[in-house]
Point group: C2
DNA sequence: AATAATAGTTATACTTTTGTAACCATTATA
DNA sequence: TATAATGGTTACAAAAGTATAACTATTATT
């Protein structure tokens, strides 16, 4: 383990984070009434198809009561639905509805549009590089940070 | 401009963001009384040395009243200090104190330590890759998303 | 069968963030 | 000089996130 590299990684991630936050959550507010938390839940469901309430909490390091509040709101808006687990009747599984999947796709497009304006400043090579590098960061972080 | 690439980038960044959030802000809470917002402000100051109140707001897409609140708290803790601009007496410049710089360094170490446990699961090559890729993402995002 | 553990909800209190509007001081403009 | 624009603060309200405890229902353990 190279100690220097780890510190560099931490430093890079700390710089990336605040830049992302506003760029990603702002379109969600202007184009829909999805809160940042709701957006993350939808993203997790998009990746995993179905998750129990507890799994969502683990996925996002979110306390269970908060998951309940967010999912309640998403159900109210028709984005997700509950279903009882067939094996364990304590478990409630959450999955995207068609509307939820569609609207999340639209939200991603809105974020793309928003980013696109900024990305126009880059060369084709830089965009290519960012595409590859962001995928590498994503895949590696998911492999070590995702708890589900 | 390759449309596919832009959408891939948006998708990757949206996946990265929730993973980072908790991993980066949790150590700040356990090791100090710096709020996430305060951490971002310190990070901006670390990169730019000195910023006016408005610049901090632009940097982090933060409303000005919120900047005031956060900076007030950081001053109270002795992490940053105000100084009047010599050319424009409306402007108040904020810069890190020695204590602020030190404690921010320590905070970064705490985050590194926290990450290190997880990074132990990776191969040396993956760490190397993450180090390079996260730097690329950081540099490119700063070049297009940072407003200061 | 009794007890402990797990999944989820409800309730509550608190912190942080976000959004406005009003306000003062200073600088720029007409 | 009068007016507009900018930088920053104050005050207030509302939304979102965080944390904890108490509770029900179900499953696992003994």
């Amino acid at each position: 383990m190279n100690k220097l590299n780890v510190d560099v990684i931490a430093e890079n991630l700390m710089s990336i984070h605040p830049l992302l936050y506003k760029s990603l959550t702002r379109p969600a507010k202007t184009n829909s009434n999805i809160t940042p938390g709701g957006m993350f839940v939808l993203g997790s469901l998009k990746r995993h198809q179905t998750l129990s309430m507890s799994d969502i909490g683990k996925c996002l390091s979110m306390p269970k009561p908060h998951v309940t509040v967010i999912v309640d709101k998403l159900i109210e808006e028709g984005y997700v639905e509950r279903s009882n687990d067939v094996n364990d009747r304590r478990i409630i599984n959450i999955s995207l509805t068609k509307k939820g999947a569609n609207d999340f796709e639209e939200l991603k497009l809105a974020i793309s549009e928003n980013l696109k304006e900024k990305l126009l400043l880059l060369t084709f090579e830089e965009i290519e590089q960012l595409s590859v590098a962001s995928k590498q960061v994503k895949d590696i972080l998911i492999s070590i940070l995702s708890k589900v």
